[in-house]
């Protein structure tokens, strides 16, 4: 009996010892694993930054390191948190889940907005030793000739011409495809440009607009047609004689790229119109045109607004197409190209930031409207 008790006692002491040991071991692990993970990740970073290994190896390592690294960090932090007493796990776990997203959003979007706002009040050196100039950058934004041209293009050419064109084309194709047996194929093909980069699209359209001197064979489709009709070859997008209408040749590219987007949304909306309503209207003697304007259009109005606002936001920020096609020259500059030119070529941080803030202020109301519209539709 006594002996047994002693043994139990010993066992208890032993298990307490093991518990202490495992605790120490766990703490050691909790410290060691993050350190090892950090070292491994840092070594991977240095390897990638050096970039002198074979290309395929760099690519594989980059993918494994980037994706695996993020997953590993989550796993490690969660593992540490879950070792804590239950109460603390519950308290801290949300930070493991939400923390990284909030940190990145703060670093990449929230703080930069405030910083850009601050920089816009300084001259060309910004916060790094620049002088405070108050609102004079903003004054320049609204008086500079190139900026006025950019506003004209953004508002007139892009919002008032490109956006309705895209919406109308998208709607037209959606309605036609809805009545055709070849719906799937037709929609796929019209939609395809969405997968093409703006740079790629610019090359495609540069090729269509290509101009050769008069007398030699025109290899650009548009000039071949123009010359065939007896015109001189024209440098379409760079043709300043018809300014500002040369912008339309850039507008065409964007309509070509974005009509598919509009079409997909309209197509889905049209499918949502109950067949009975249309049938009832037809029975009552409504023509197709009447049915279209009196029933279809009101029914899909929400989608029309969503598509329109989305394209307005897109065209307000339009950059790549203009930059690659004309570099913003020949009277085709837009807000985003002026921003790029001032910020990264002229290195005028204050002025560039002011342009960016103006762009933000222009986008905000449209975006809020867009989001509200989206919630009403409960599309997701």
């Amino acid at each position: 009996m006594h002996y047994m008790e002693m043994e139990q006692h010993e066992e208890r002491a032993l298990s307490a010892g093991i518990r202490v040991l495992t605790f120490v071991f766990r703490i050691a692990l909790a410290i060691a694993i993050p350190i090892i993970a950090f070292l491994v990740l840092y070594a991977g970073f240095l390897f990638l930054r050096a970039g002198n290994a074979p290309k395929w190896l760099i690519t594989v390592v980059a993918i494994v390191w980037g994706v695996g690294g993020v997953a590993a960090l989550y796993w490690i932090f969660n593992w540490i948190i879950e070792m804590l007493p239950k109460q603390w796990t519950g308290r801290l776990q949300p930070f493991v889940f939400i923390g990284p997203a909030m940190a990145i959003l703060t670093w990449y979007l929230a703080v930069p907005t405030v910083r850009t706002l601050a920089i816009s009040l300084f001259d060309r050196d910004g916060l790094a030793g620049g002088n405070f100039v108050g609102l004079s950058n903003y004054l320049a934004v609204f008086t500079d000739r190139l900026m006025r041209e950019a506003f004209r293009n953004n508002i007139f050419m892009w919002i008032l011409i490109a956006t309705p064109l895209t919406v109308v084309f998208g709607l037209l194709v959606a309605i036609l495809a809805d009545r055709s047996r070849f719906e799937r194929v037709a929609k796929s093909l019209i939609f395809m440009p969405m997968a093409i980069s703006f740079v790629g699209a610019s090359v495609i359209w540069n090729f269509i607009y290509e101009v050769k001197p008069a007398g030699s064979a025109q290899i650009g489709l548009l000039n071949a047609i123009a010359v065939g009709l007896g015109s001189k070859p024209i440098a379409w997008a760079a043709h300043t004689a018809i300014s500002p209408w040369n912008n339309l040749f850039l507008v065409i590219i964007v309509v070509w790229l974005q009509a598919g987007f509009a079409m997909v949304l309209f197509s889905a909306a049209l499918k949502g119109i109950p067949e009975e309503i249309l049938e009832a209207a037809r029975v009552d003697g409504a023509t197709e045109v009447q049915a279209f304007f009196k029933i279809m259009i009101p029914y899909i109005m929400g989608t029309i607004i969503t598509v329109t606002t989305t394209i307005i936001i897109f065209t307000l920020k339009i950059f790549d197409v203009v930059w690659v096609m004309t570099g913003g020259q020949f009277g085709t500059g837009v807000i985003a190209t002026q921003f790029y030119r001032q910020s990264f070529i002229a290195r005028n941080a204050g002025y560039g930031s002011a342009i960016a803030i103006v762009l933000l202020i222009a986008v905000i109301p449209v975006m809020i409207y867009n989001l509200r519209q989206f919630r009403q539709q409960e599309a997701f």
């Binding site: 993020v70 055709s180 997909v264 997701f380």
Partner: protein, 369 residues
Amino acid sequence: MTIKTSRMQRLRGPLFVNGILALLVLVWMIPTIGLFVSSFRERFELQTSGWWTIFPHREWVNVATIDPREQGLDATGLMEVEGVTATFEELREGVESPSGKRIQWVGNRRIGRIEVQERQWAVNWSFTLGNYKQVLQGKDFEYRHADGTVEVIPGDDFSSALFNSIAVAIPSTVIPILIAAFAAYGFAWMKFPGRRILFILVVALLVIPLQIALVPILSDYAKLKLNGTFLAIWLAHTGFGLPLATYLLFNYISTLPRETLESAFIDGASHFTVFLKLILPLSVPALASFAIFQFLWVWNDYLVALIFLGGNPNFEVVTMRLAGIVGDRGQDWHLLTSAAFVTMLLPLAVFFSLQRYFVRGLLAGSVKG
């Protein structure tokens, strides 16, 4: 009678609809078809004839060559050739003879020759893979002219740019989705103080155009020596894609059936296990939709890459390389067309194979604000 007209209408309706639709589709396709066809044409042909000449067409073909000196023609005055009387200048432009032939002086006044041309059916069918070879290789490319001179053009090394694009695009797609999925789960299924305010912040950040962030982030990167690294651009794409990803995934994850999760918690599963074993598999449709979007967006992005990878020619992605050719050699259409097609190949493949998810994503609002 009425039956007949209605049948007529029924027939004419689809014909009209399909006709207009086919026309629109054709107009939409022509730019891409032109690029595709041209990318396989020889450099010289590409520069001297339109890509549509691969279709049968009528063009002037030389049928006889006359040496003006042998004929004793005087190039300074009027000349009579094949029933045409014309000056040198007129012949330079080409003069049509009454018999429908064209007489044209080729070359200069002293040593030129006269060609008699006839209008004939022709197709320009000589295709090559050489353009692609030159665009993909990093090596110098020798180009032999008709007169025997050799021109050396550096290859464009698109294959390494393709690797770079893959190394940029895949992590830039997976990382934001992972981070957003964790955050979306947290917002949807965890209780903590400040949850509502933080979520409103995420949605509010949807409005920020990424241009706003470029200058401050670039200066941060300069301090951290991150410029021109993959990590820099992954994080940038993650930051810019995160509000939308979180918003969309939250909308999806928060609608998953509550009972499934509760029974898992009762069984003693932790949040992490539930997220990994239950939520992620259930969210595959939403994840796939956003993934395709983000992938295409990153692959096709030019601005972000230009700014954060611009200083490192070693890590240039395909859009930068293509824009580079546009800038440096905008007339080399044999390179531009094939290079553009190389950059489009992967997104087009993704697009056509996963179009269903892509459309679903669009309908869910996967459009960058």
